[in-house]
Symmetry: C2
Subunit: 184 residues, 2 copies
C-alpha cells in the first residue's frame, strides 16, 4: 500500500489503487503509521476522489441544468444572502477574480437568474442578487446536488472507503462517523 493516489488515474480497473511511483521519486513512504506521511497520503487520496466527484457533478449540472460549477458556486453565495452581495465580496468568496466575476455575472444575468443593482450610498458599488427565477432554479439545483452527492459518496464508500482510510480489509461505514465524533 505505498501507492499515491495523486499519481494514479482516478479511473482504473481496481478502483483507486495503483502501482507505486518510481523509487527515485517516491514521495509516499511505506510506514503508514508515520503521522505526517500518512496524513499526506490521506490527503492525496482525498484530492483524487474529490476530483472524480467534482467531474461528475460538473457533468450533471451541465446536462440537467445547463450550468457550470462556478455558476453554481456563485448562486449558492447569493442564495444564502437574500439582500445580495457586492461583486467584490462575491469575488472573494468564490475565489474568482473581479474581472471574471463580471463575466460570470453577465451570463447569469442574461439568463435571468440574477440582477445587478447599484448601491444607494456608494455609487461605485454593485450588488448582485438572485431573481425569483434564480432562487427557484437554484433551489432545484441544490436539491439535485445534494442527492448526487449522497449517491456519489455512497459509491465512494462501497468501492474505495477502505482505501481512503487505509484499511486493507473490511471497513465499517461507521468509520467516517467516528471521524465526526473524535475529539479526544
Amino acid at each position: 500500500m505505498t501507492a499515491s493516489l495523486f499519481w494514479s488515474s482516478p479511473v482504473s480497473d481496481n478502483s483507486l489503487d495503483v502501482a507505486a511511483p518510481p523509487a527515485d521519486l517516491e514521495i509516499i513512504v511505506n510506514d503508514a503509521r508515520d503521522g505526517q506521511k500518512a496524513q499526506l497520503r490521506l490527503w492525496l487520496r482525498m484530492l483524487s476522489i474529490t476530483k472524480i466527484i467534482s467531474h461528475e457533478i460538473r457533468r450533471r449540472l451541465r446536462n440537467e441544468f445547463q450550468a457550470t460549477l462556478p455558476q453554481f458556486d456563485l448562486m449558492a453565495q447569493l442564495y444564502r444572502e437574500r439582500e445580495g452581495l457586492r461583486l467584490g465580496e462575491l469575488s472573494r468568496r468564490t475565489m474568482v477574480t473581479n474581472g471574471n466575476v463580471t463575466g460570470l455575472a453577465d451570463r447569469l444575468e442574461s439568463d435571468g437568474l440574477i440582477v445587478r443593482q447599484s448601491a444607494d450610498g456608494d455609487r461605485r458599488v454593485t450588488v448582485a442578487k438572485l431573481t425569483r427565477h434564480g432562487r427557484e432554479t437554484f433551489a432545484r439545483m441544490a436539491r439535485a446536488h445534494e442527492a448526487w452527492l449522497r449517491e456519489l459518496m455512497s459509491e465512494v464508500d462501497d468501492k474505495t472507503l477502505a482505501q481512503i482510510f487505509g484499511a486493507t480489509g473490511r471497513v465499517k461505514r461507521s468509520v467516517s462517523s467516528r471521524l465526526i465524533k473524535s475529539e479526544d
Copy 2:
C-alpha cells in the same frame, strides 16, 4: 455547527466556518451522530478544502513551472510508465476526452516535454512518453508539489482540522493518523 462548507466561501474571515443555509433548504442536519448526514457533511467540507488546495496548487504550478494541473496530471501518468502510454489510455486515466488529450499532448510536445511515436504492431496507435527534459522537469515539479501539499495541508490542519473533523474543541493531530489505522 450546522454549517455546510459547500455553501460557504472557502475564504472567509473565520477560516472555513460559515452561517447555516436557509432552513427551507437546509441539507445539513444538526445531529452530527447520524451516520449518513455526518458523512455528507464531512464530504462537503472535504470538497471545499480540496478546492482551496487545488486553487493554490494550480497557481503555483503556473507561476513556477508555466504548467497547468491537467498537464501535471498527464505528465504524472507518463512518469510512472517509462514505456509510455497510448493516448487512449492517457485519456481514460486523466478523465480527459480523446480529442482534448490530443490538444494537451500538442502543447506538451511543442514544449519538448513529451514525444509521440507510432506503435509498431498497430499503426492506429500512438504512444506518448516523456522526453528526458520532460522527466527532469516533472521530477522538479513533483518535488515542489509534494512540499506544497505538505505546507498547505499543515495549514489546513492548524486552521480548520477541528472543523473538518467536526470537533468543537481541540483536536489532536493524531486524528488523521488514526484514520489510517482504523480497520476494526
